[in-house]
Amino acid sequence: MTDTDWPLWEVFVRSRRGLAHTHAGSLHAPDAEFALRNARDLYTRRGEGVSIWVVPSAAVTASSPDEKDPFFEPSADKPYRHPTFYEIPDGVKHL
């Protein structure tokens, strides 16, 4: 058995309350408990976080680059989803 058996984990850190967890990087750990502790030591040693998630990298399903067009392009032609699509007369407030 070699340390290849220490799987890779993705680390997500909430930098302060009120913000979402964001991807900080990855690391190796034998199990979830150590992944959390290693993440705390590595990614928050300058006080960068108040909460950490760790997820086995193998558990992440990613969209493929070939799906990029079907996945992401349709949303590009729906400008009516964005507030700047609408013209409002000058002087109207709180909109």
Partner: protein, 330 residues
């Protein structure tokens, strides 16, 4: 993201479509778009990045050794804390960089194997010994200074995970260079013995630091392609010149001299001229003939081998627990 599934690039339609992919890739890179792990990329781009990130990561962890050499002898508790934090950062930076390399489908084990067997290099600068306490300062000021000059442009590297790792590293490293400078300043302004210690360290580290930028542009094997791919942004000579120009006034403020009789301001170029670098020494150290090559590599191998039973124990424990949990569910 460094998932096993995520690094696999689709190879379907390779023969017919590669040309099209490559044109799209080149155009995206030229337009300053970032390349991400699952994007199609030329094999040579991938290989260049893996090699460079691995070498960078190896340099961080081998680079712990010359400084760790002084942790147990740091002359004040304040300096001891600073040095420990700095060496710890280097381990952390190695980790960030190995993770970035792993997004391209290699594993840290594989990269460490290549380091341990001498198939991948680390920065030759770490094959020089730290003989006195002042060397810790000279490494911070000159070696980290040269590294930062090299690394700041890498924050805009075309490969996203590498660029992101470098942003984090550059942010954290800002204290490394300053602590080295401050350490040397204290020595330079201290007793005559301390001043001499500082000057001696600068004399020994100056030229190897200039060599850190790599061979001159006309001899640099990978430079042109790396520039086109925006893995590299400035030529070796350009960065070296920038570094010299930054260091000259800093040395004056330290009250120390740089060991180069030909170093002088060139009014016409608006830059400093400096003497010839001993590239024969550079090549000898690179080939394994530096003062510490054998020592650095064997310490690294020993740490890895001595730690094998620990890594195995943790893996075995995790496997047992997964087994138990499954047993309970069944």
């Amino acid at each position: 993201m460094a998932t096993a599934a995520a690094h696999q690039t689709d190879t379907a339609g390779e023969d017919t479509a590669t040309g099209g992919y490559e044109r799209a890739f080149d155009a995206a890179v030229a337009a300053e778009e970032r390349v991400e792990p699952r994007d199609w990329m030329p094999d040579a781009y991938r290989a260049t990045l893996v090699r460079q990130m691995a070498q960078h990561a190896h340099s961080e962890i081998i680079g712990m050794q010359p400084e760790a050499n002084w942790i147990t002898r740091a002359p004040s508790l304040r300096r001891k804390a600073i040095l420990m934090a700095k060496v710890q950062d280097e381990a952390g930076h190695g980790l960030y960089l190995y993770s970035a390399a792993e997004t391209l489908g290699t594993s840290r084990d594989e990269l460490l194997d290549k380091l341990h067997s001498g198939r991948q290099k680390y920065s030759s600068i770490f094959n020089y010994p730290t003989l006195t306490w002042a060397d810790v300062g000279a490494i911070g000021w000159l070696v980290d200074g040269a590294a930062i000059t090299n690394q700041v442009p890498l924050c805009r590297c075309s490969y996203g995970p590498y660029a992101r790792a470098m942003v984090r590293i550059c942010k954290e490293e800002s204290f490394h260079q300053r602590q080295g400078y401050e350490l040397l300043l204290a020595l330079s302004r201290g007793t005559p013995e301390q001043h001499a210690m500082a000057q001696d360290a600068v004399d020994r580290w100056w030229w190897p630091s200039l060599m850190m930028f790599g061979p001159p542009d006309d001899e640099s094997a990978h430079s042109a392609q790396s520039m086109t791919w925006k893995i590299k942004r400035h030529s070796n000579d350009e960065l070296r010149q920038r570094f010299v120009d930054i260091c000259v006034p800093q040395a004056a403020s330290l009250g120390l001299t740089l060991p180069d009789p030909e170093l002088r301001w060139n009014e016409e170029r608006q830059r400093h001229d400096f003497g010839p670098i001993d590239w024969a020494e550079f090549r000898a150290v690179l080939k394994g003939n530096g003062p510490c090559n054998e020592q650095r590599l064997s310490q690294r191998r020993r740490a890895h081998e001595d730690g094998a039973w620990v890594r195995e124990a943790a893996a075995a424990y995790a496997a047992k627990r997964t087994g138990r949990a499954e047993g309970e569910r069944a």
